[in-house]
Amino acid sequence: MPRSIRDIAIILILIGGGLLILFSSPKEPEAGAVSRVVYSVLRPFQQIISAVHSRVKHTWEGYISLVHVQAENATLKEEIRRLRRENTVLQNKEGENRRLTKLLDLKTRYEFPSLVAQVVGEDALGWYRTLFVNRGSEDGVAPDMPVTVAQGIVGRIAKTSTDMSRVLLVTDPNLTVDCRVARTRDRGLVSGSLERGCILRYVSLKSGMAPGDEVVTSGLDGVFPRGLNVGKIERVRKEAQGLFLEALVSPAVDFSEIEEVLVILGRKGGFDIQPGLEGKR
């Protein structure tokens, strides 16, 4: 038999066999015995190949994705950095807004002109209790003007230049403020102490002041308007000579936290303001 005829015969037999199996096999849902043997032989190989394929596929996809992830990661990191920066700026703005709102509230409560000033520096050495604000004589600020924040008095202007002023804090022994104890209305002088805080001096022995009482300005010293919060009494004792009572006063203001202050430019019948400076108030 020629070779070509043999090949054609084989192909026809195979196709015929296939057609025979196709049309003669029963339509059963269950696999037959031959199928089961074939399946059980093939299954382990299939599983291995499938697992290897799956792993290779995952590794490849992982690698490909990692290339993207790295780029995405860098973008996200930059985004986080930018958002953090923005967040810090917004938090600062929010804090500033809160402080300025308080000052504005205070400003509208006062019946005299006042000016918001920013704290720009502190005492160079720390032996004295002073700070510097960014408003000076050009803005209408003059020595002895009271400086306050929402919590209470800060001090008074000690020295001014054209665009900067030095504020003597109420905790400095060089500053004395005429005050009253809010509850008992006893009068005394508050001055700073090197021992931290302030001391309320020259209070009558008959006074019933006690720790926890609020101390406010009396308005009688010609510098501070009356009723501004100074601090709270911590301890009461008889002074060394025994003629008066004195009290340790904890200031109402945390001086390390101050960022903006309100300078009271004048009072009714009080300070003379230079003409032409009204617009700056």
């Binding site: 005492d123 160079a124 032996w127 060089n174 001096r201």
Partner: protein, 165 residues
């Protein structure tokens, strides 16, 4: 002249640091007196005229930037300059610890003079807490000098290489 310029720039830098960012590194009450450290260093390393001029000028500037009466620190730093110069001449202050001890003493003395001046003008409420404050502020200044002196020497050697002696 070059020494004078060097002291001018370091003085300005120290003043800015003293009035602003130093408070971030140390509590305001305990912040070290950088100018006193500079005066002491100038006394040990600079020509007499430059150091004396620096002590006086820095003192005047400190008077303006603190609550001190004008002239107090100009005088104080000149006294510190003389005292430090005397101590250096007699005790040969070359070791860092010896220099720090002298600076501690000088800070304590300057604090004492400030206290005295305040005492004269009115009651200051001096007690145990204030004494602690004086002591620890002086300790911090002394310790800071141990860090600042090597930095100043490096800066000066760099500056000298740059502009010539």
């Amino acid at each position: 002249m070059t020494d004078g310029i060097f002291m001018l720039f370091t003085g300005i830098a120290a003043l800015v640091l003293q009035t602003t960012s130093l408070a971030f590194l140390a509590p305001i009450d305990y912040k070290p007196d950088m100018i006193l450290i500079l005066v002491a260093w100038a006394t040990l390393r600079m020509p007499f005229g430059v150091a004396a001029g620096f002590a006086f000028t820095a003192g005047i500037l400190i008077d303006l930037l603190s609550g001190a009466p004008t002239g107090l620190f100009a005088l104080l730093y000149c006294l510190i300059f003389l005292t430090c110069g005397y101590c250096h001449a007699t005790l040969h202050l070359e070791g860092r610890v010896a220099q720090a001890v002298i600076i501690f003493g000088l800070t304590l003395a300057s604090g004492g003079i400030v206290l005295l001046m305040r005492w004269i003008s009115g009651p200051v409420g001096f007690g145990w807490k204030a004494a602690q404050w004086f002591f620890f502020k002086s300790v911090f200044t002394g310790l800071t000098s141990m860090l600042v002196f090597p930095v100043l020497e490096r800066l000066r050697s760099g500056y000298t290489r740059l502009v010539g002696a």
